[in-house]
Each structure stands twice: as structure tokens, then as C-alpha cells.
Point group: C2
Chain length 208, copies 2
DNA sequence: TTTTACTTGTTACTTCAATAACAGATTAGA
DNA sequence: TCTAATCTGTTATTGAAGTAACAAGTAAAA
């Protein structure tokens, strides 16, 4: 299978979640325009995405929901569960912990890390919080695939290096520091930039 | 001034923050390739962004940092401070509160909203938490421009409608529900989709 | 049975963003 | 003073993402 566009992968994640809810209410087939309406996108985009993953619908009946969900799974999930760690167990780290435990998915949260002695050793939603000093040890021991950085920005680069050396293959950086990472997929999410962007686009002179 | 590309605006936000730190250590001029190195992008992109905002550097000396920072300010900031509210004062809301109070910027956090009686009426970093029932009243009273949605997904759409009706011009939706909003700029940030995307791109068969 | 309406699947086009290429200007050094 | 190195500013090219257009096929209705 060809490598998919980033946006398509994101939408596949959406499709799956929305469709799962429909399965629960025993809907069997769905049209591209119905999916589109749910996600506020165009039917063409839906069909195009499904074309890319090689899913065929039935003419005038639409797509078989159960089949589609399982196909999306085989494409975006790993055969084994993805193992995830959160580095920095502050407010944001805690929020991510909740997201990961509430939404069941193929992602399995395995470890938390922090520097605060009061947090180290505690168990939160069945996940243990370790000292950041033990990052290489624990990452290797559990074969953790992906790390979410929610620690103070000044430690982000150093920690990222450690993580990649220990075998992490994906990093999401929620700190405001800009990282350079080789040998792993890096996603930056800068909240301040995001806020300032929205502020810019809400300027009165841009009202359409 | 022409409307700027979204990505450029995000980078301008980065430029400003990085440059501000350099001002503090009394650096006066900077080359495009220096900026580029700090942000891990190309010098061309820096020059192109600065061209778009109409900033001129000095040949063989680079860009005057103080001047550039202030120009970026006149472009991405509003003349008055942007007023921001956080809807849903859970872990993520609290994390955003911290971001907004730690990083000084043109954004001014004015109100929090929640449903929990224990939170309503409390003051956090000098910001009062109100009941969500008072959203229209408070939004209008303080002329709030922008809202950050960190509440349970099932209330997101209804709340977004209320906010726009009350005059909010920008919304960042951190819930996993997909919104449709007319009359305001909407930015979605779906953590689960983001996690699943990174998981997809860390699959072994994509290693370059 | 024939026609019409509808829905998929794919190719072609457009728009937005990033990268490359290069002309022009200035400073430092020969 | 002249030459070479360097850095900016802009245009041209490439690439990624989204949108439009439409052929093909099927089910339902006439």
C-alpha cells in the first residue's frame, strides 16, 4: 500500500470514530454524503480517501460500515498495540492521560515520567509514574513506540534525543520549544502559535 | 496588507518568540540563515515570510531584531488586547490557563467557565470561573473575542453556537467532536487523530 | 421493459505551501 | 580601486491537498 497523505490519515481516524457510533445504533450501510455531512467535509473528499485505502462501496447502497471500520483499522493501526509514554505529568500530561484512557484505541499508555518526587511512584489510571532519570531504562524495557512531550521547554530537546536513542519512533512535542529530531517522526503542536494564528484570522478586516 | 498564509502566521509567532530571547542577550542583527537554524527551517522560507510582511533587512548585516519584533507585533496582534475565554476548566483548560499566563502575549485571558459548583466562583491566576449558564452574559459584557473549548464533546456544538451568537470571532475546539461554525474562524485540534496519525507514520515499513 | 435518478470511482484541475534559482547590492579584502 | 564573497529580495518551479467534473453502473419507478 502506498503511503497515505497526512490529512487523509487524520480523516480516517475521524471516520472510524464516527462510524463506530453508527454501528452501535445498528446502521449497516452509509453513503459518502452522509459521512461528509457528519464531518463537515465534501462527499468527494470522503470517496477519494476511501479510494486511496482501496475500499469499495456498493452502488446505490453506499459503504458497509463494519467492513470500512475494520479496513481503517488494518491500515492505520499497528498489528500490536502501540505503546505510548507521557513525559511530564503536569496538567497537560494529565489531560492526555485522560484522553488516552477514555477513548479506547489501539494506543496503549504504558508509562508516565516526571521530576516531582511526590508524583514519582504513584499510579494513575493503572499507569505508573517514573522518574525522568529512568527514561532510557523504561523505554527500552517496555519497547515504547511513541512519546508525548509535555515537560518544561528547556528540557525538551535533551529528552527527545534520549527518547530516540532508546528506540522511540514517534514524538509529539507539545512544548513551545522547537526540536530537531532524526530517526523518528516528529509532530509539533505549539499552542501559542495556534492561539496567535486564530487571533490573526479573526481580525475585523478579514471578515468575509 | 494582503491576508497572510496560515503557515506564515504561525511562523511569525515563532520568529517573534525566538527573537525576543535574542534581544534579551543584546543581539542586534540577525541573518535569515540564523533564524532558519533556530527554527529548523530553510533560510529561503524565512526571507519569503519577511518579504510577505514587507520587512527589509540590510545587506550583509541581516535583519534588525528590535524592528522585526515590533513589525510582527503590528501585523499579528490586535491594536487592543485580544480577550480570551476558556470553556471547560478541567485538566486541559487548566493547562491552557497556565500557557496563557506564563507566556506573556497580546492575548488576555478574561474568563473561565465550568459546570462544577466547586469551581464556579473561584479565582485562578486572577481569572474568575463562571457557570456555563452565564456564557452569553459574560462574553458580551467583556467583549470576548476568542474561546477555547475544552469541555465534554457532547456540549461543544451547542456552546459554540452560543459563543458565536454572543460575538465570539475565533474558536479553537480541543474536543473530539466536529463542529460547524458560521461567522467565526474555527480551528480544530483533535488529539486522538493527531496521535493516530503519528502512530501511522511510525510504522516500520515507512522508515526512510 | 425502459427510463430516470442516484451514487460510486477516477481523472483532471485548482489552490495553497515549500523549495529552488538567481539577480542585485554591499562589504571586506586584495 | 577592483574583485570576490556574501546575503537579501523576488520570481519560477515543484509538490501536496482539496475540489470539480464526469463516466459507469445499478436500483427503483414508470
Amino acid at each position: 500500500m502506498e503511503i497515505l497523505p497526512e490529512r487523509t490519515v487524520e480523516r480516517l481516524s475521524h471516520y472510524r470514530r464516527v462510524l463506530s457510533k453508527l454501528l452501535e445504533i445498528n446502521k449497516e450501510y452509509i453513503y459518502s454524503h452522509e459521512i461528509a455531512k457528519l464531518l463537515h467535509i465534501t462527499p468527494v473528499q470522503v470517496r477519494r480517501d476511501l479510494m486511496l485505502i482501496g475500499h469499495s462501496g456498493t452502488l446505490r447502497k453506499g459503504y458497509r460500515i463494519r467492513e470500512l471500520i475494520s479496513l481503517i483499522g488494518t491500515i492505520i493501526d499497528n498489528p500490536e498495540k502501540y505503546k505510548v509514554a507521557i513525559i511530564g505529568f503536569g496538567k497537560l500530561g494529565h489531560a492526555l492521560l485522560n484522553y488516552l484512557t477514555e477513548n479506547e484505541s489501539n494506543l496503549h499508555l504504558v508509562a508516565l515520567f516526571d521530576t516531582n518526587p511526590e508524583k514519582i511512584g504513584t499510579t494513575n489510571n493503572n499507569v505508573i509514574c517514573y522518574s525522568v532519570d529512568r527514561i532510557p531504562e523504561i523505554i527500552k524495557r517496555y519497547n515504547i513506540d511513541m512519546a508525548l512531550l509535555t515537560l518544561p521547554p528547556q528540557f525538551a530537546q535533551r529528552t527527545a534525543n534520549q527518547l530516540v536513542e532508546s528506540g522511540v519512533k514517534g514524538i509529539i512535542n507539545y512544548t513551545s520549544s522547537i526540536l530537531s529530531v532524526e530517526g523518528a517522526f516528529l509532530e509539533q503542536y505549539d499552542m501559542i502559535a495556534s492561539l496567535e494564528k486564530v487571533a490573526y484570522f479573526t481580525k475585523p478586516e478579514f471578515y468575509l
